[in-house]
C-alpha cells in the first residue's frame, strides 16, 4: 500500500486519467442497469404486484395473454389454492386533453387480483369505473375524468389510482369483469361473457395441478419472459453491460501495462535489492483496487445524482443491490486487468535493470 499510494500521490494526473475513464464506464454501466431495470418493470410490475406463482392459458396461445381465451369456470374446477381471472383488451383512452395507450384488465372484485388504491375509491362502485395506473397522473389524468375509448361508445370513469400497474409497457385500467366483457364483446356479450384471457394462480404446487384439455400452465417468470419484446430488450441491455465489463478490463489492462513497462527498470532495481515480486505485484493490485474503488464509488454517487434530475417519463429505475453487484464486478474486472502487469513484473530480470 505504501508504494501504491506514494506513486498515486506523486503522479496524480496520470492516475486521475485512468480513474476518470473507469468512472465513466461505471457510470454507463449503472445507467444501463437502471434502464434495464426500468424497462423491465414497465413490462412486469403489475404481474409482480399480483404475487402469483403461475398462469393458466390455452395451449394454442403460445404463452401469449392476448391470444388466449378460456372459460372462467375452469377456475372453479382447478384444485388451486387461490385463483383470479383476467380479461384483457388494449385501447386508446382519451380524457378530452390527452390520448394514451392503455390496457383494460377486467377482473372479479371478489378475487385477490383487485388492486389496492393509493388514491380514490377501492370498490369500483360506479358502473364502468376504473382504477388506473398512477403513471397516468403524470399524463394529466385525474379522478373523475371521463374516458372515451377508441373502439367503443362506452365511456369510463376514473375512480381511483393504483401503484405498480403497468403491463407490457402499457398502463393498466382495472375494471369490473362484467363491464369489461360488455365493451369487449358488444353484441356478442351474452355468448362470450365467461370468456377470459387467463387465470392466474397462487399455489406453490401449481405444477401438480390437473389441467383441462387444451390448456397450459406456465410459471410466472416464463410468462413474463414471453411478453412481446421483453426478453430481447433485456438481453440487449445485459449484453451491453457485459461488454462494458470487458471494455473496462481492457482499458485497465492496457493502461497499467503501459505504466508497468515504463517502470521495468525501476522494478528491476527493487528486485535486485531483494524486494520480492510478490510485494511489487501486491502494490500494483492495491493501486488498481484504489483507483477502481474511487472510480466506481464516484460513479455510483453521480448516477444517483443524475437519476434524480431525470424527467418522470424516462424509464430508469435504479436497483441499489444490482448496482452494488455491478460495482463489485467492475472492481474485480479492473483487478483482472492488472494481471498482465503482474505477470510482467514477475518476469523482470533484476540483472537487466542494473546493466553494465
Amino acid at each position: 500500500m505504501f508504494l501504491a499510494w506514494s506513486e498515486i500521490k506523486k503522479n496524480k494526473l496520470r492516475f486521475l486519467l485512468i480513474t476518470s475513464i473507469l468512472l465513466l464506464v461505471s457510470f454507463l454501466v449503472f445507467f444501463l442497469s437502471g434502464l434495464a431495470n426500468g424497462l423491465a418493470s414497465m413490462n412486469r410490475e403489475a404481474i409482480d404486484s399480483w404475487k402469483v406463482d403461475a398462469v393458466l392459458l390455452t395451449e394454442e396461445s403460445d404463452k401469449s395473454l392476448y391470444e388466449s381465451a378460456l372459460d372462467r369456470k375452469i377456475a372453479d374446477e382447478l384444485d388451486a389454492k387461490e385463483t383470479a381471472v383476467i380479461s384483457q383488451m388494449g385501447a386508446i383512452a382519451n380524457n378530452g386533453d390527452t390520448k394514451q395507450n392503455v390496457m383494460l384488465f377486467g377482473i372479479d372484485r371478489e378475487e385477490f387480483i383487485k388492486p389496492e388504491v393509493s388514491e380514490g375509491d377501492p370498490t369500483f362502485y360506479v358502473q364502468n369505473g376504473v382504477v388506473a395506473s398512477d403513471v397516468l397522473k403524470d399524463e394529466g389524468f385525474k379522478i373523475g375524468d371521463t374516458l372515451e375509448l377508441s373502439s367503443t361508445d362506452t365511456k369510463l370513469t376514473i375512480v381511483g389510482f393504483t401503484e405498480k400497474a403497468r403491463f407490457n409497457a402499457s398502463p393498466i385500467l382495472y375494471m369490473k369483469l362484467n363491464d369489461m366483457q360488455k365493451i369487449k364483446y358488444g353484441d356478442a356479450y351474452t355468448m362470450n361473457k365467461d370468456l377470459v384471457n387467463a387465470i392466474v394462480i397462487r399455489d406453490k404446487d401449481w405444477a401438480t395441478l390437473s389441467l383441462p384439455d387444451n390448456t397450459e400452465i406456465i410459471e410466472t417468470e416464463t410468462f413474463i419472459e414471453s411478453l412481446p419484446g421483453y426478453t430481447e430488450q433485456n438481453l440487449t441491455l445485459t449484453y451491453m453491460i457485459y461488454f462494458l465489463f470487458v471494455i473496462s478490463a481492457a482499458i485497465v489492462a492496457i493502461f497499467l501495462y503501459v505504466l508497468t513497462v515504463q517502470k521495468i527498470s525501476m522494478f528491476g532495481l527493487m528486485k535486485a535489492q531483494g524486494i520480492s515480486s510478490a510485494y511489487l505485484a501486491r502494490s500494483v493490485i492495491a493501486q488498481t483496487f484504489i483507483l477502481a474503488l474511487i472510480g466506481v464509488v464516484l460513479a455510483f454517487g453521480l448516477t444517483l445524482l443524475a437519476g434524480s434530475f431525470l424527467p418522470n417519463g424516462v424509464p430508469i429505475m435504479f436497483d441499489i443491490p444490482t448496482m452494488i453487484i455491478y460495482g463489485v464486478v467492475l472492481i474485480v474486472v479492473a483487478i483482472l486487468g492488472a494481471v498482465i502487469s503482474v505477470w510482467t513484473i514477475i518476469r523482470i530480470d533484476p540483472l537487466e535493470a542494473i546493466g553494465g
Binding site: F2, S6, L269, A272, Q273, G274, L351, I354
Partner: protein, 232 residues
C-alpha cells in the same frame, strides 16, 4: 568469512560466440574488510560483482554467503538473501522516482526488519550531506546527490555485505574521497564486507586490498604493485 567465490566462472553464449566474462575465480572477503576491484572496461568487474551479489548464478563453481551455498537456493530465496544480507550501490542510480529521499528508506522498513534507527539514520544523512534533501524526489537531485542517497539507502539496511559499482563516478573528487571515507568507516564500525568497483586509482588509499580484473581474471595486487599504480 562472509562472502566466498569458489572456482566460480561465468560464461555467456556458446561455441564461437562464447564469452568468458569471468574466468575461474577464487575470492574471499571477511567482515570488516574493504576491498577494491579495478580493471579496464569490459574486463568483467560488473560480472564479478553481480555473481557475488546473488544477482546471477555462476556457470560453474559456487558462491557462498554467510555459509549458504547459493546454488542450493531458488530465486525467491536468493532475493531474500539480497534483501537481508546485501546492500547494493549501483552504477545507474537505483532510486524509485516517485519516492522522496525519506520514503526510499522507509520502503525498506516496509519489507525488512533491523534497519537503522532514526538516530543512526540522522547521522548517516549528516555524514552524506543530504539532510536538507530528505523531502526531495530523485528528479530534484543532482547526479552526485542521487548517488549519495543511493549510498544511504544501501547502508540503511545494515547489510553484512556492501557491493558498490562505481559509487563515486558522478561525484567531484572531494565528495568522492568523503564517500570512500564513509564506506571505510561503515565497513569498520558495522563489520561489513565491502567490495568497491572503481576506475579511480586515487581511491585505493582507503581500501585494505586491491584486486585487478584483466580479461576475466581476478588477481590480488601486491602492495608494491599498488604503490606503483598509484604513482602512475
Amino acid at each position: 568469512m562472509v562472502l566466498e567465490l569458489r572456482n566460480a566462472k561465468k560464461t555467456f553464449g556458446e561455441g564461437n560466440t562464447l564469452v568468458e566474462a569471468m574466468k575461474e575465480t577464487n575470492f574471499l572477503v571477511e567482515r570488516g574488510e574493504l576491498v577494491a576491484v579495478i580493471g579496464p572496461s569490459g574486463s568483467g568487474k560488473s560480472t564479478f560483482l553481480t555473481v557475488a551479489g546473488a544477482l546471477q548464478t555462476p556457470s560453474e563453481g559456487e558462491v557462498i554467503i554467510n555459509g549458504k551455498e547459493l546454488s542450493q537456493l531458488n530465486e525467491k530465496q536468493r532475493s531474500k538473501i539480497r534483501l537481508q544480507e546485501i546492500g547494493f550501490i549501483l552504477q545507474a542510480s537505483n532510486l524509485v522516482p516517485f519516492l522522496t529521499v525519506d520514503q526510499q528508506l522507509e520502503l525498506l522498513n516496509k519489507v525488512k526488519k533491523d534497519n537503522m534507527t532514526k538516530d543512526e539514520q540522522r547521522k548517516l544523512y549528516e555524514d552524506l550531506g543530504i539532510t536538507k534533501l530528505r523531502k526531495n524526489y530523485p528528479s530534484d537531485l543532482s547526479g552526485g546527490e542521487r548517488q549519495r542517497v543511493a549510498i544511504a539507502k544501501a547502508l540503511f539496511s545494515k547489510p553484512a555485505i556492501l557491493l558498490a559499482d562505481e559509487p563515486t563516478a558522478s561525484l567531484d573528487s572531494d565528495r568522492a574521497f568523503e564517500v570512500m571515507e564513509l564506506l571505510r568507516n561503515e565497513t569498520k564500525s558495522n563489520q561489513t564486507a565491502t567490495i568497491v568497483v572503481t576506475h579511480d586509482i586515487r581511491l585505493i588509499q582507503y581500501v585494505d586490498k586491491v584486486y585487478k580484473m584483466t580479461d576475466g581474471v581476478l588477481k590480488l595486487e601486491s602492495s608494491a604493485e599498488m604503490a606503483l599504480d598509484s604513482t602512475e
